[in-house]
Symmetry: C2
Subunit: 379 residues, 2 copies
């Protein structure tokens, strides 16, 4: 290889993560921090394909490590569904469902707070997407009743709800949509990337046909990893077997999450299954944190009172500071980093998202005090 390549390659030998041991309030990351068991499993099964030592033809049937028990017993019970599978992430699960249930040119109805990847997955599947608008500033709520006229007008093959959305952390009335889906007999998929592994969620109670979860976002797992649960009636559609290879699922290309992230998902599962039982405490912690920041003049967007750890704040006073300091918008990231806090996207000051999920109340008090200090310093 050329000299330039050697130089570039040299950078790769010692990859370090700058934010590793800081207080983490980064919404994408607070639910994905590994347990110690997962960290050990990651090293134990780090070598590529080492999870497949005892494969007899299908990843999800491996008994050592106990993939079969995890996928076929624990996950369905946890998600309140009949059948579950592992995936490379929530979006991959959504695409699998779209690709199995629809044909190019079909329509689907989704909430206006949907993740960008739901739109991209629909584009990959050739679908026409109709969005249920949110209520706009400042709450950005989804009124589930607005699905009805769009269903009647567009005859969608699938309806999707993001629960909660990743922008505001709003929790729309998923159960109400379950009733509508049943009335019109339209398959209903719940994107629980920020729910599954954080809070109790059961699609049988909700009345959804499918649910996707994200290992790296909310199940204390390495990325890429995810789960997909469904009602029994969809098993032969979404998890259909290959005509040529009767033990291989077509939408999984045979075997999907074949590697280290799977064992983190499994190793963290007992902890994750337990932590969702303490969701009330997470909600009250988020509400307290939000109220404290509002006392500083920050304005929380999204639903109030808030029912999720994902919080979005408008902070015009910090934006004002950014306009008159040398570092511009980066001053806030730097000030927080110097205090051992990581989570606001570098450069943002006008509005930003945080998550209170992984930090405890003492750490969050320190975050609140840090914002106070910063406001005072530049006030």
């Amino acid at each position: 290889m050329k000299q330039t390549t050697n130089k570039a390659a040299g950078k790769l030998c010692a990859l370090r993560r700058m934010h590793k041991d800081l207080i983490n309030i980064m919404p994408l990351q607070t639910g994905g921090i590994l347990t110690n068991a997962a960290r050990e499993a990651l090293v134990e099964f780090g070598d590529g394909y080492s999870v497949c030592d005892f494969c007899l033809g299908n990843l999800q049937d491996i008994t050592n490590p106990p993939v079969r028990e995890f996928v076929h017993d624990l996950l369905p019970q946890f998600l309140g569904c009949d059948v579950a599978t592992i995936t490379c992430g929530a979006r991959e699960g959504i695409f699998m469902v779209m690709h199995s249930l629809t044909r190019p040119g079909d329509s689907i109805v989704v909430d206006g707070n949907r993740h960008y990847s739901s739109i991209v997955a629909a584009e990959r599947a050739g679908l026409n997407v109709i969005e249920v608008p949110h209520s706009g500033y400042p709450e950005f709520k989804i009124d589930i009743n607005e699905y009805t006229p769009l269903i009647e007008k567009h005859n969608p093959k699938l309806i999707l709800l993001t629960y909660p959305d990743g922008n505001y952390g709003n929790l729309p009335d998923a159960t109400r949509l379950g009733k509508i889906a049943q009335k019109y007999d339209i398959p209903y998929i719940l994107n629980g990337a920020y729910a599954v592994g954080r809070m109790p969620v059961n699609i049988q109670d909700i009345g959804a046909d499918f649910i996707v979860g994200s290992g790296h976002k909310s199940m204390a797992s390495a990325g890429p990893s995810g789960v997909l649960g469904m009602k029994k009636r969809w098993e032969q559609v979404v998890l259909r077997k290959s005509l040529a290879y009767s033990n291989k699922q077509v939408e999984l290309l045979g075997c999907t999450l074949r590697g280290a992230p799977l064992v983190t998902l499994m190793a963290s599962f007992p902890y994750v299954a337990e932590r969702v039982q303490h969701w009330d405490g997470q909600v009250s912690k988020a509400q307290w944190f939000s109220a404290e920041l509002e006392k500083l003049g920050f304005k929380q967007l999204g639903e109030k009172p808030h029912r999720h750890d994902l919080l979005h704040f408008e902070t015009p006073m910090l934006y004002d500071v950014s306009k008159r300091v040398r570092e511009r918008g980066y001053f806030l990231y730097k000030e927080l980093k110097e205090r051992g806090i990581w989570g606001l996207q570098p450069g943002l000051t006008k509005a930003f998202k945080v998550s209170t999920f992984s930090a405890d109340k003492e750490q969050l008090s320190f975050v609140i005090d840090s914002f106070k200090d910063i406001l005072h310093k530049y006030g």
Copy 2:
């Protein structure tokens, strides 16, 4: 959760791998053993989504860790292509190409030694697959000239060649197929899951349009991970951007390999780029090993002289033993495991595949001696 679930969940807390420190001759695993740098990176970036600390909208443009340099500079140079991307594995890359270049009902021509996942990917894309037959027992070779009449008859939208195949480790004349592909102007994809990261392979020299590689199979990486390289002319087709999100690629669902396996791919890359330069030594080691086992009465299938570390042996004398011992076919796995050797699929004795890639000559001598011992013990 129920009592039964708690019991099952308990098993997940301490996942251990039985074969971790044994001499590894398992074909799926010998190319995926992590470097120390990769093992450190795995822990450093184990927490879900920690690779995305400095994301500005697209995973492949992240500069810390240096994903951008890896994907846009190092990989294309390594693969001999214009444009590269990371993927969740070789099969995922093959499906991306099929899904982008074909429509349901189209035909493709593939070699008869193709991996099962190429058939499943084609089924997912709704394609009609025509296979170029291999020469049958004992060499199972692909005659590239046999693509021509099938191309003329079926007008395929894509042709695929497995290089080498995973069953016999045969290396068909990929460059000859490059000339045929150019003559008929048909896109040509090379499945290099057992080539990229083991041996030098350059698709510009070969004349292929696409190449896929596997991180967990051959690039010293955790699974799931892979690479896809292509000619510039296909960038706007396979890596087309979303109409709604101009920095997100549709076939990658925005971001693909978002997590720990990616950093192992990067951290191992300098080592992998170097090791392919020593491929001649690997080939002579494989040939020596094969010759030694043939002295014991084993019969090597596939091409001779062999040009790859994947080896397939027929061993009727071991099969005979299995018929008269208590453990049946498992006796061989147990005998080898007791000697610190892992790699033959438990239960197999009649014929099996091994790989000489990761074991050194001294270790392989021990493997040969172990087979001798076992034959003697049961002889």
